[in-house]
Amino acid sequence: MPKGKRPLSPHLQVYRPQLTMILSIFHRITGVALFAGLALLVYWLLAAGAGPGPFAVAQGLLGSWLGMVVLLGFSFALFYHLCNGVRHLVWDAGWGFELPQVYASGWAVVVVSILLTGAAWAFGLTVMGGGS
């Protein structure tokens, strides 16, 4: 085999997918995605600063069916990155490295992220229903 084409360790393609590896790459994917979410937040802030006209356009986009789906995605990405980020900080402190603990914290991150996303949307939609 030519020297430059040898597969590099750790040969991810021959691994059976595991929760740990999926959560790990999902942390980076959500991190990059949240940069786009940050751009959306900046657009919203710029629109608010620009006046009622531009702000109405922004609210129209974000309040549309597609806008809500995008916001749902970003809110889940934010909660996931937050929860898994805390998981990383706990590891950085030296705790939770036993394999059962790693899986337990991994599933906890998934479940808590979903619950927090649901709670945030329930809160937001309830407040919206209450008028301006």
Binding site: G31, L34, L41, V42, G124, V127
Partner: protein, 126 residues
């Protein structure tokens, strides 16, 4: 260079002596973002569907403006560090590596300045 892994050629050069600073900054911004995010999400949910006047009044209140500016500043720093790590891991060719890093830093810097401008404009009612 002797046969073997490229790391053999790096031996004796010493470390870049800045990795620990990068690591610490990423963790400290992460820790700071935990309470800021807990403030941010309910605030945004609360503002959903509100009128322009209500949103500007809320964002213009000193505490909210300061927390929003803080959240944005820390987030942009965190994004800068995180994207730097990702580019360093996945973009290997020297030229593409440098070009991607520069493009990322320009994008983050421009967006960060726009964000702080927007918050200042609302806070000072410009």
């Amino acid at each position: 260079m002797s046969p073997g892994a490229p790391t053999g050629g790096a031996g004796g050069s010493g470390s870049a002596k800045e990795g620990a600073g990068h690591w610490w900054a990423q963790r400290l911004t992460a820790i700071a973002l935990v309470p800021l995010t807990i403030w941010f999400v309910p605030s945004m949910a609360m503002l959903a569907g509100k009128s322009h006047g209500a949103v500007v009044a809320w964002l213009g209140a000193p505490l909210n403006a300061i927390l929003m500016a803080l959240l944005l500043a820390v987030t942009f720093y965190h994004v800068w560090l995180g994207l730097e790590s990702i580019i360093e891991d996945y973009v290997h060719t020297e030229r593409r590596h440098v070009a991607t890093l520069i493009a990322m830093k320009i994008a983050v810097a421009v967006l960060a300045l726009a964000a702080l401008f927007a918050v200042a404009r609302i806070a000072f009612g410009g």
